[in-house]
Every structure is written in C-alpha cells, then in structure tokens.
C-alpha cells in the first residue's frame, strides 16, 4: 500500500470534511430560510379537503378585493386542527368543531362556521331502476348491520316498484378522522337510539360493520368497484364524480336531495340569534322545515387563534369569506350561510386580536 494507501486515506478524510462542510452549510441555510417569516400580508392555512374547492375560488378573489394573499392546502381536518394548534399555520379548517380536548390544546382558538353543504349517501346497486329512497331509521339499520341485504323488506317498503337485487350490502366508511363521519354519525344518533347508545357521534367512530377507506376519493373508489356498497360523502363530491346517491326521508315525510335548495330549507329553522356553536345543529331538522329539507348537512369551520400577529388580515379575510365569499358557493354545491349564522360569525371574528 504505502504511498497509495496514504493518498487514499487523505482522500477519504478530505471527502468526509467536504461532506461535513456541505451538510453544515445546507443545515444553516435551511434554518435560516425556515425562520424567515412569510410576508406580512399573506395568510397560510391548511386542513379540510371538503372546503378546498371553495377556498380555491376565494384565493384569487380575496387577493383582488383586499390584497391579501392566502395559501391553502387540503390536508384533512385532523391535520388542520393539529397545525393550527402548533401555530405552524395562521388558520386551520375542519368540518367538525373542536372536541373539548382539542379546544383546550389549541389554547383560546375561535371556531367560525364559513361553509355549509349537504352530505350525500352514494350507493352501487346494479340494476336498480330509478333513485334509491331511504329513511333515517333504515339508514341507521344498514350502518348498524341489522339490514344486510338490498332486497330486505324495510328497504322494499320505502321503494315501491323498484327492483332491488338479492345482494349483500357492503357498508363503506372513512377510515381516517373525518368531518363527514362527524356529520353522518350525528344524524344517525339523532334518528336511531340504538346507534346513539352503541356507536355514537365522532370524527372517527367504531363502525359495527363494513370496510374503511381513506378520504372521499377512497370511499368513492371502493363504492364504484364494489356491487352492493353504500357510503357517505359530501354532495359536491358525489355530483362532480357522478355517483348515484339516495334521497332521504325527512320529518315532514318528503324525500329530499342534498342540493342547495334541500340544505337551505334544512337551515331555515335555526334560532334567530345564535350565541354558541352547539346551536348549529342542522341534522334531522323539524317538520316545519318542510318537505324539501335535506336531513344530513354540515357546517365546515375555520379555526383561528384569538391572538395572532396577523389578526387584522385574518379578520378581514374571514369576514370577506362569510359575506362576499358565500356567493362562490352554489356552483360548488355549498349553500350560503343563513343570516343568523352570519351574525354569530361577526361576533366570533371580533375575538381575533393582535398579539
């Protein structure tokens, strides 16, 4: 070896030194760029994929109207809550309000409703002529595993004249934590005492039967490829992806669809003055909501820390979203917020203060 060995060692040492220098330089560069705050008039948010199409429409419009640059990524409600709790974003978006534990972890965050839409019940029943009709109790029994076949008497009774096949029902649900699950389990708890006591409401619950899949696209994919499947997904997703979805019987006895009119009718019975987020209950609306009222709808929320260095921009952006921004909703199957809810949002927006 001799001379060659020495040279080799030198080369090795040099290579290592170089790697260390490069690593240090990269690391230093990284930390520097990470600590560089985004510009003052830009807001960063993440969370709900459900509200993503609506926020995407808002971004250029709010830049035009107010000169506020908003960046939003659809990562899921759970991530939205986690990120705003960690204060790594300016706002988070979630389809379910904060649970008590989440609220205490978020340390004085306000939860403001800024979108409203229906939840559809898509199905894959081969050979069915016409649209499937379901009622709350029947839907609950399907999701509980009490009704297991499409030609069961209970489904037949709601669908006279339809040829329901002798096919096993496959329930498909969201495996990830989801605002859609929160809305649907809220409805099922309302209409079925057995669901309420056995399963309950939550962003993820212990479904008695079925298969889980991730995200709206995940459950929709399983339903498309599985004959006899049934699931829940927001109405916009069903409509844009051409999924067949059921009409649901409301308290007034009508079979309603999750379109803009159905959801508008459902929220018409909310109290005139709303002071608490718990009052925003819109599943299974009372008889006086009418025959059009669709019984499974949900608000989607923006979550903001009450003390933020960008409080002014956040207030302006959210105020714009719940007023001007609502008109972007209907083409995307979002329903404009009713006046009483808007009043509530104004009071909540005021709680966002500078540091």
């Amino acid at each position: 070896m001799g001379e060659r060995g020495r040279n080799m060692k030198r080369a090795l040492a040099l290579a290592f030194a170089l790697i260390v220098v490069v690593a240090v330089a990269v690391f230093a560069g990284r930390t520097q760029s990470a600590s560089a705050k985004p510009e003052a008039d830009s807001l960063v948010g993440t969370g709900s994929t459900f509200v993503f199409p609506l926020v995407s429409k808002w971004i250029p419009a709010v830049d035009n109207a107010l000169g506020i640059k908003v960046t939003y990524t659809g990562t899921g409600s759970g991530t939205g809550i986690a990120q705003v709790t960690a204060r790594s974003v300016d706002f988070g978006a979630s389809d379910a309000p904060l649970s008590p534990d989440q609220a205490s972890a978020c340390k004085s965050c306000v939860v403001i409703p800024w979108g409203l839409a229906g939840m559809s019940i898509p199905y894959n029943v081969p050979g069915l002529n016409g649209r499937l009709r379901l009622s709350g109790p029947v839907l609950a029994n399907i999701f509980l595993g009490n009704i297991t076949n499409w030609n069961s008497a209970a489904i037949k009774a709601l669908n006279p004249g339809r040829n329901l096949p002798d096919k096993k029902i496959t329930v498909v649900y969201r495996a990830d934590s989801s605002g859609s699950t929160y809305a649907v389990t809220g409805y099922l708890s309302e209409v079925s005492p057995q669901w309420k006591s056995k399963v309950g409401q939550g962003t993820s619950v212990n479904f008695p039967v079925g298969t889980g899949a991730r995200g709206s696209s995940g459950v929709a994919g399983v339903v498309k490829s599985t004959e006899g499947a049934i699931t829940y997904v927001d109405a916009a997703y069903s409509i844009t992806n051409h999924l067949q979805f059921a009409t649901i019987k409301n308290r007034a006895g009508g079979y309603a669809t999750p379109g803009v009119r159905g959801v508008t009718a459902a929220v018409s019975t909310l109290p005139k003055k709303i002071t608490n987020i718990a009052q925003l209950k819109i599943v299974d609306p009372p008889t006086r909501a009418g025959k059009m009222a669709y019984p499974i709808s949900t608000f989607t929320y923006v979550i903001v820390p009450t003390s933020s260095s960008k409080a002014g921009d956040l207030r302006k952006f959210i105020y714009w979203a719940v007023t001007q921004g609502q008109k972007f909703g209907p083409p995307l199957f979002f329903v404009p917020l009713p006046t009483s809810v808007k009043g509530f949002t104004y009071r909540e927006i005021k709680k966002i203060q500078g540091t």
Binding site: D101, A175, S177, Q201, G210, T211, V222, S225
Partner: protein, 322 residues
Amino acid sequence: MTTTTFEPAAPETDLRRRGIRLGDLFFRGIAVAAALAATVLLGLIAWKVFDLARPAFQDFGLSFVWTEAWNPVTNDFGALIFIYGTVVTSLIALVLATPLSIAIALFLTEMAPRRVAGPIATMVELLAAIPSVVLGLWGILVFGPWVRDHLEPWLQSVLGFLPMFSGDPNQAGILPAALVLTIMIIPITSAICRELFLRVPRDLIDGSLALGSTRWEAIRGVMFAYAAPGIAAAVLLGLGRAFGEAIAVNQTIGNHSVIPSSWFAPGDSLGSKIASSYAGATSHLEASSLLYLAAILMVISLIANVSAQFIVVRFERARRGL
C-alpha cells in the same frame, strides 16, 4: 497491512505523516460520532414514544395489550385487534414469500442461463423500488377486486371448510393485505438468498455431485445446509419489513376495528391504525393510545430482530458441530 521500513526521515515526509495521522484522527472521530448518533437517536425515539404513550399506559395498564376494543367515542382502547392484524398478515406473507424467494434465488443461481439471470434478478430487485403507497393503490384498484372476484371464491370452493376461508369475499381484508405484503418482502428475501447461494463454495457442490448425488440432493444437502443461517436471517428481515409496513396495508386491509374470523374480512394492523388515525385523534387519550400501539410495534419488531440473531447463532453453532 504494509511492512513499514524506517528510512532516514526527511523533514517533509515526517510532516506528511503527521498530516495523515490528523486525517486518521478526523476519520475516526467521524466514524465514532456517526455510530454514537445512530444509537442515541434510537434511544431518543424509543424514549419519546414510550413517554407519549404513558397516559394510555397509566389508564389501561398492561391489559391494553390483550384488550379487544377501539372506540374513540367512549374512549375505550386496546391493542389486540391490531396485534392480530399485524401478526397474521405478516405470517401469511412470510409463509408465502419464503419458498417463493428461495425458488427465485435457486432459479437465478442454479438453473437460469447467465444471460437470462441478470435481467430477471434486476427486475425482482426493482420490485422493491415500487413505493409502498403505489403498491397499495394497485392493491385497491386492481389486485383487491381480482382477489375478491377470482382468488377468494376459488379458495372458498377448495378450502371453504376452514373458518379462515369462509364468509363473503372482499376486496379489502386480511388476505389482500397479506398478499401485498408478500409482494413487498419477496425482493428482499430473494436478493439475500441469491447472494447466499452464490457464496456457497463451488467445490462443495461439485464434490457432492461427484459423489453421485443428484442436483436436488446437492442443493438440499449442501447449499441449504451451508446457507441455512443466512436464509433464516433473510426471512426474519422480511418479517421485520412486513411488521412495520403501514401505508400499503392501510390501503388494502379494510380498516375495520375488529378481529375477523375469516381472512377475507376486513381488519386492521398496528402500523395501519397509527397511519390512519393519528392526525385526527380527538382526545389526548386516543393520541396516547396510538403511541402505545407504536410502542407495541417497536417491541414486536425488536423481538423479531433479536430472534433473528438468536437463530443465526444457533444455526452457525449447529453447522460447526457438523
């Protein structure tokens, strides 16, 4: 190394030698630091996982491990469902992948002409380069429906009397997940087996053939005996990979929090449950319980690794005894 001859040292070479010593020192420092960093990192990760799992541990104790429950609404948590899913899918994958991997390795080293062996070996290894999320997607869109429509009905018609092959065929469940895992671990185990077979001294096989044994007898008696500890280690490495896989399993196992009686039915595994639920955990106890699952997964993987080493040592000793 070299025999150093001491010639009258010119001042220049002395300096150079000193420079090299400095380089040596530098190199040693980096090597030690890297080794230490890996150890410390492992320790820190393990400590953090166990630390974060502590609230769940205090609440449920050790019985969490054999409790069959997962209900975020009532805050009732247990690990048995997921341990069952992890262990059963991994063991099915192992049982299927081991003979297949050995067969692939034997074909490549013993049977295939060299011109064919090279490309096939590369292809098998490239199988490992498919990201698990892509393999999982393929599992959802292509493989799962095929398993449901063809493989499971056939299994049921042949082995339907066994409880694990009864019930309705499903595109997502224990069996589809296990099959996807099989595909994932074959590249690793077959590549290692191939390496092992190539290293078996040619003289031994030639000797055995010269003594009149058939090809198969030579393979069984000489190659397998020589490579046995390595094969065992390869298999356990594959098992470790199967235990830890989260995403592909998540996409194909069906994410249903029960212990299914049939392998066709959906279940869930440790890695899959952590992947799907951690971001959206609604209570501290749920988040902590998920970390408890992570701790259990770490312990299971550790057991697999330690037993791998134990088996290798045992085999090695047995072989020396021969």
